[in-house]
């Protein structure tokens, strides 16, 4: 199968007054059509920046310095390299919202407080009206409104006719996130990027939203990139997992392999350090020593080596590249191969 989206050696850096922050530093992964790809990592690992890069939404002083983001707009077509498209050009705008949609983290802040939620969804539909209306005729506002009501019903918002005229701050957190999902789905995208969509909401509401996303995914077979720091959410949602640390992919593979046969020391340590609902209680958890380094203070070599229990002399000198370590699994670690990134 050919990938829908293929990110190769992506690098994004932010030129701040205090210095250059390399937020994404050589990230590569693929998204297959209809696949739910989980991207997991701690704060500052570059997961959100990567996703913004895919939508060409990196703001100054940040910029994509190198790498490819190849996206297949239609089956059978050649892929376009999003990293080469002008961020504000017509093609990129057509892709945004039309083919790649975003579900942001904070549904409260992600809606404008002075426009009704319905208005904002209708606008998205009208922007990509040709996806609803074959044959050139422009979509009328009333039609877009009907579509929105249908979408609201689809995502489980009760009384959609009334809710469409509500402001975001009049809705509960769960409803807001549902409205956001409705907006993301409004133009039948091929790829959905969910950036920590449940971090700001409570656990019972999170379960509802996750169930909704799973259900919609099964119905429309949309590919989803699911970004989160919660390993539980990843385990339940993703079929394939990318583990990131300090702007680099540490390991990637099918979800079962990542959770039951992790190869990279970081993945292993991360999985061990979370308390579970089943393990022994009131005992010391295995920890990852040290703290995340400051973004201006990236360690040389493998970014994880100062905290790595298995670090070798070489880890401080060279950056391991992402190489296959099993049938479907890749890791960037010298324990498993000796391929270094070209300096």
């Amino acid at each position: 199968m050919t990938p829908l989206l293929s990110v190769r050696d992506l690098r994004v850096s932010f030129a701040l007054d205090e210095g250059l922050v390399r937020a994404v530093d050589g990230t590569s992964f693929d998204v297959m059509p209809g696949q739910v790809l989980g991207v997991v990592g701690e704060s500052g690992c570059g997961k959100s920046v990567t996703m913004r890069a895919i939508l060409q939404l990196i703001e100054r002083p940040g910029r994509i310095t190198s790498g490819e983001i190849r996206f297949r707009r239609r089956d059978g077509d050649n892929a376009v390299d999003i990293a080469r498209l002008p961020p504000r050009g017509p093609e990129m705008r057509d892709i945004r919202g039309g083919e790649i949609a975003l579900i942001p983290q904070e549904p409260m802040a992600a809606f404008s407080p002075v426009h009704t939620v319905g208005d904002q969804v209708i606008e998205a539909i009208l922007l990509h009206g040709h996806r609803w209306q074959e044959g050139g005729r422009r979509l009328r506002r009333a039609e877009a409104r009907d579509i929105t009501v249908g979408l609201f019903r689809d995502v489980g918002i009760s009384m959609p006719e009334q809710r469409i005229d509500a402001f975001s701050w009049q809705l509960s957190g769960g409803l807001r996130q549902r409205a956001m999902i409705a907006m993301a789905l409004s133009c039948k995208p091929r790829l959905l990027i969910a950036d920590e969509p449940t971090t700001a909401i409570d656990v019972t509401t999170q379960a509802q939203v996750l169930a909704l996303l799973r259900d919609l995914q099964a119905r429309y077979n949309t590919a989803i990139i699911f970004i989160t720091h919660d390993l539980g959410v990843i385990a339940q949602m993703a079929s394939y997992v990318v583990v990131m640390y300090l702007g680099r992919v540490m390991e990637q593979g099918p979800v079962d392999d990542i959770f039951h046969n992790p190869r990279h020391p970081y993945t292993k340590a991360l999985l061990r350090s979370i308390p579970s609902l089943h393990g022994a209680t009131r005992v010391a958890l295995p920890v990852i020593s040290g703290a995340l380094p400051h973004p201006f203070n990236r360690p040389p070599g493998c970014p994880f080596h100062p905290r790595c229990p298995d670090a070798m002399a070489r880890c401080a000198a060279a950056i391991p590249s992402l190489q296959p370590v099993a049938a479907h699994q890749l890791a960037s670690c010298f324990l498993h191969h000796d391929q270094a990134e070209p300096a």
Partner: protein, 339 residues
């Protein structure tokens, strides 16, 4: 379970009875009170010396408000907070005047959620951590510096750091500093308000380990407020679950996780995504939304979302009752059906 069990011979360290905190909603220029938000609405529980009680619930359930009342960071509207002091007296914290409360402050301390806002950025670690010592009578700076050094070592930081300012430290390190400050006056009861929820996964485990270690070394008693059930299960001896300002279940950790006796607790546990792709946790998702504490539903507050609800649940508010030894629940149907 290696902590002392509850409800035996020794009287509890803290006995909270009928705790209430209402916030008035006011309107207009004359600040007319139009409604009351019952943030905490009659909460009872005890904490024994040396144990960790987890206070669990979703945002807005009143767990934070309840813990702040116990600290007297805010004044409760009603109820009693009976505390057994170091010298054996029992006092009602809810009834004490600020002046009478001040000497007791040293015994009850708090660990904050946000490691960035809980330290004064304009003071060095020596001043931040040493302040409780200073205001509790340790006027000698040398003596204070020695104690701060000892505290920093205790939480795993280098004593030389005491002349630095908080901005020099990462989130996890700041949380350690906050813990050191809370321990400065050798408190007996520590209220920890979501102490690890702002931390990264890899740092969270470090802080949890530190809390466990400090507890066994210093014989601390914890009131652990959190929303993350796996963290609570890991660290607590007993767990109290709150819903719309009320306690709905209170039981030892093993009992509550083994056999929850309230449908909300059960739903809460099912909602936690299991970090194992082979275990699917999809069945029995709780529908609906948490009601507003300003206008709670009739009868059992949980009935609109409960699949076991009957007519009785709609009209009659259930009382907290003991369904098994040490296992309290606020459900009409507990024991009748398995949740």
């Amino acid at each position: 379970m290696n902590a002392p069990s509850t409800g035996t011979a020794a009287p509890p360290l803290l006995d909270v009875r009928g705790l209430q905190k209402y916030f008035p909603i006011t309107r207009g220029l004359r600040q007319r009170v139009v409604a009351q938000v019952r943030a905490v609405d009659g909460v009872d529980f005890t904490i024994s010396e040396g144990e960790t009680l987890g206070l669990v619930g979703e945002s807005g359930c009143g767990k934070t408000t309840a813990s702040r009342c116990i600290l007297r960071a805010i004044d409760p509207t009603g109820g009693a907070i009976v505390y057994r002091t170091r010298d054996g007296r029992t006092v009602d914290l809810a009834a004490l005047s600020p002046a009478a409360l001040r000497p007791l402050r040293a015994e009850i301390q708090m660990i904050f959620q946000d490691p960035f806002s809980s330290l004064n950025p304009r003071m060095t670690l020596l001043d931040n951590v040493g302040e409780p010592l200073l205001v509790n009578g340790m006027k000698n700076r040398r003596e204070r510096a020695e104690r701060v050094a000892e505290l920093l070592r205790l939480v795993g930081l280098r004593p030389e750091f005491m002349h630095r300012f908080p901005h020099a430290f990462s989130g996890g390190q700041r949380q350690r500093i906050g813990i050191a400050r809370a321990l400065a006056t050798s408190p007996r009861l520590v209220v920890a308000d979501e102490p690890v929820s702002a931390l990264d996964v890899s740092v969270q485990a470090q802080v949890l380990n530190l809390l466990l270690e400090l507890q066994s070394r210093l014989k601390l008693t914890f009131l652990f407020v959190a929303h993350d059930l796996s963290v609570v299960r890991h660290i607590c001896d007993r767990i109290a679950v709150m819903y719309v300002g009320q306690l709905v279940e209170l039981a030892p950790t093993d009992a509550i996780f083994g056999r929850p006796q309230h449908p909300y607790t059960a739903a809460l546990m099912r909602a936690v995504p299991v970090p194992d792709p082979r275990v699917r946790s999809s069945d029995g998702i709780l529908g609906g939304e948490v009601p507003s504490p300003a206008a709670p539903p009739s009868g059992c507050y949980f009935h609109p979302r409960c699949r076991h609800a009957q007519e009785r649940c709609r009209v009659e508010a259930p009382a907290l009752r003991e369904i098994a030894p040490d296992h309290m629940t606020r459900c009409h149907r507990a024991g009748e059906v398995a949740f």
